[in-house]
């Protein structure tokens, strides 16, 4: 959010004017309650509420319910949002916004490498994601490795530094998973594997080493610190979830086999052939984060990618999320993924849960985000229509009680629509004079 957006916020909410975000500065959570009145609320947990009230305070959801039975706190700022729809902030389980990477070409398995150390928090891709209603994203390194590094679960706050975007777990650690891949992307020249069986063998060998490392720690031995094995130990202890790129049906089953063998928790990502092995995925009780693209192909293993994967997995009882894989698909069109799922037969409820609550579950964040429930983070989007309609636009995106995107503000609209200057890095400081710029 930039200067005029900030001014708009100031005008609307004088009560916490001094606490409102400035561009690139971390925000404090406004203490004055704000009541959003008259919207259709889609809480995801529970049925939609027509003509509802959503009260946010201190960055959390304080109240939610129908207008006639939900009192508006005294002193609250009241926003009349009749005619709009409010959804929980969208959760993208697989994104590459921020231009980060992790592992290099030196090895196929690099658990010690963190995407944290490479993300550019001023990349305009963050603004585009806000414009698409995304409030939390699992930002991942690529799929060119068997294991390319540690991922980050980020809140897309208007941040200046990467620290402004981090999510802390209840234990104080930085929330994130680990990225793995199989199939063709991670098959390359040595030291990378050349076949599928070699790929699995390399992974298995490294996990066996991690098991030994964990055992030494348990025995009270003091093995030399190994950052990679430390990260894999978190995977083995089920603290750190594996986000596993996989397309072909047999590759999917290889992931399930390895997960069972080593007892790690896994989310299957992309899952192009998931419709062929939906029963097996369901039996393993493993959730799927799926991609929807406008045509099959691009590589051999994406030949059978289908709009109907979501339906097939839903029918089999598999928990499903969608993801943008931004830049593969555009974060501003994330809700379109859910709509394409419905086009191919997925239920509307599951499709909406697949971009909110189910996605939050896959990141172990469902106690904090993913639905409109009292006590959860005040992360939500204001839409001007049916969430699954192509004609519906995101009007505003709020994170922890702070508006981070406002379509009525010129600068934010630049991110939402594109245009001259939209490709530039976001100016981090206040001295940027938008009146004299080329924008």
């Amino acid at each position: 959010m930039q200067i005029t957006a900030l001014l708009a916020v100031l005008a609307l909410f004088p009560a916490y004017a001094l606490q409102a975000a400035s561009p690139g500065a971390p925000q404090t959570r406004p203490s004055t309650p704000i009541a959003f009145v008259g919207a259709r609320l889609v809480p995801i947990e529970g049925p939609p509420i027509e003509n509802g009230v959503l009260v946010v305070r201190e960055g959390l959801i304080a109240r939610i319910g129908p207008l006639d039975s939900t009192p508006i706190p005294a002193g609250a700022i009241v926003r009349d949002v009749a005619g709009l729809t409010i959804l929980p902030g969208l959760v993208d389980t697989h994104s590459h916004i921020g231009g980060g990477g992790a592992g290099d070409r030196s090895a196929p398995i690099q658990p010690e490498v963190r995407i944290l150390d490479s993300i550019n928090p001023l990349s305009p891709s963050f603004q585009r994601a806000q414009a698409g209603g995304i409030t939390t994203a699992n930002v991942m390194p690529g799929s060119g490795h068997l294991l390319s590094g540690q991922t980050l679960y980020l809140k897309l706050r208007d941040g200046r530094t990467i620290d402004d975007l981090l999510i802390r777990t209840s234990e104080g650690t930085i929330a994130g998973g680990i990225k793995m891949a199989n199939g063709t992307n991670s098959r390359r020249d040595p030291p990378f594997p050349g076949t599928r069986a070699k790929s699995a063998a390399l992974v298995r060998q490294r996990f066996v080493e991690a098991q030994a490392y964990v055992q030494k720690l348990a025995n009270g031995d003091e093995p030399e610190r190994d950052l990679g094995l430390e990260a894999l130990a978190e995977v083995l202890s089920r603290k750190r979830v594996v986000h596993h790129h996989t397309h072909r049906h047999d590759d999917i089953l290889t992931v399930l086999r390895l997960a069972e063998e080593f007892g790690f928790r896994v989310v299957l990502h992309h899952v192009s052939d998931g419709w062929k092995v939906a029963r097996e995925i369901a039996a393993a009780d493993v959730p799927c984060s799926i991609i929807v693209v406008d045509s099959p192909g691009g590589k051999l293993e994406a030949r059978d990618v289908s709009f109907s994967t979501g339906k097939a997995l839903e029918d089999a009882g598999v928990r499903v999320a969608f993801h943008t894989d931004d830049w593969i698909t555009d974060s501003r069109l994330f809700l379109r993924c859910a709509a394409l799922g419905v086009r191919a037969g997925m239920s509307r409820d599951k499709a909406l849960a697949a971009v909110t609550l189910e996605a939050a579950r896959m990141l172990d964040l469902d106690d904090r985000i993913g639905s409109l429930r009292v006590g959860k983070d005040a992360d939500f989007v204001l839409l001007d229509g049916d969430p699954l309609s192509v004609y519906t636009r995101v009007r505003e995106t709020w994170i922890e009680g702070v508006r981070v995107f406002d379509r009525s503000a010129d600068e934010d609209r630049l991110w939402a629509n594109g245009g001259f200057g939209a490709g530039d890095e976001r100016p981090p400081v206040c001295c940027f004079d938008s009146a004299t710029s080329t924008r």
Binding site: D294, G297, G298, L300, R303, S308, S389
Partner: protein
Amino acid sequence: MSAHAVLAALAALAFPLAPSTAAQELVVRGRVVYTMAGPPIQNGVVWIRDGKIVAVGPAADIELPSGLETLSAAVVTPGLVDAHSVVGLAGWQNLPHVSDQLENSAPIQPELDARDAYNPRELLIGWLRGFGVTTIHTGHAPGALVAGQTLIAKTRGDTVEEALIVPHAMVAATLGPGALRDDAPGTRSKAVALLRAELIRARAYDAKRAGDEPPDRDLRLETLARVLRRELPLLVTVHRSHDIQTALRLAREFELELVLDGAAECYLLLDEIAAAGVPVLLHPTMARANGETENLAMDTALTLATAQIPFALQSGYEPYVPKTRVVLFEAAIACAWGLPFERALASITIDAARILGIDARLGSLEVGKDGDVALFDGDPFETTNHCIGVVIEGEVVSREVR
């Protein structure tokens, strides 16, 4: 789409499952028929005989013989026209043996004939057809200063000849960073210098060919001479504002028939483009904003419409996933970003046909034109709706619910 959904749709729409015995005639009924040649017709009928439309209008006004095969849908449109694609030269895989869209052995190769690489059985052609696309302008891809020729085909046919409707449509060129190579051209200016020199050679060659002692045939110069004679438009893929200016400058110097392609920053040059009378095959609305397209805008189609610059939407070229875009979806997003519904539909039907020079034959539902029709179960642009039938020259080529 599951078999269940297909059956449900078939039942709901009363599609006859058996092919017609007399395949020469077909009737398409729509609760709304967008002819693109006048206002939409409520409760309309399109009657096709021997591949051509013989009647179109309100059902009440058209007396049909009984027993004709009839398709029905909520919304009926002309078969969609993809104004620029590489499908058929580029296959569904990103592997060399099916990637014939770009030849890198030299920067200027206008002699490359798209017919010699077009695979009419390519999987992605069927994919596009299932979403109502009946005509594609396809050929050599962006990525070389002059990449080669393009063709126009129907999305059917087992041979190139069966599919073709225009064997030589345009000559595809690229300006800006997309045209640059490790050797030459390595800069924008060098690229333009090379192209100008080649065009000047072609002009001299053309003059000599008409003279008393014609030189030996040179396919490269011969093709460029056709461009200079305005028999073939020069399709220039270009995105940055200053590169678009270069394309306009070249067109002025050589009096070319220019078609701008991609044109991410064209919104900065509306007056210049309008004054030049140049049409735009606009980048896909959902094209990725990075590199030279970093400033693309999703409402540029609306901007062009407002400026009254002729434009059409395209599926473009994708090297990875998705391997092709679908103009139906690109028009939908353009519409969602402000382009009025009928303008959006026109950008993938009649307006595309006009820029491609095939509007006398297709692009609208009018008597005498090809019986190319797309059927939808509601607003074609709404993401959750479906294309439920496709007709090419009176032949039902898809009954899938897509």
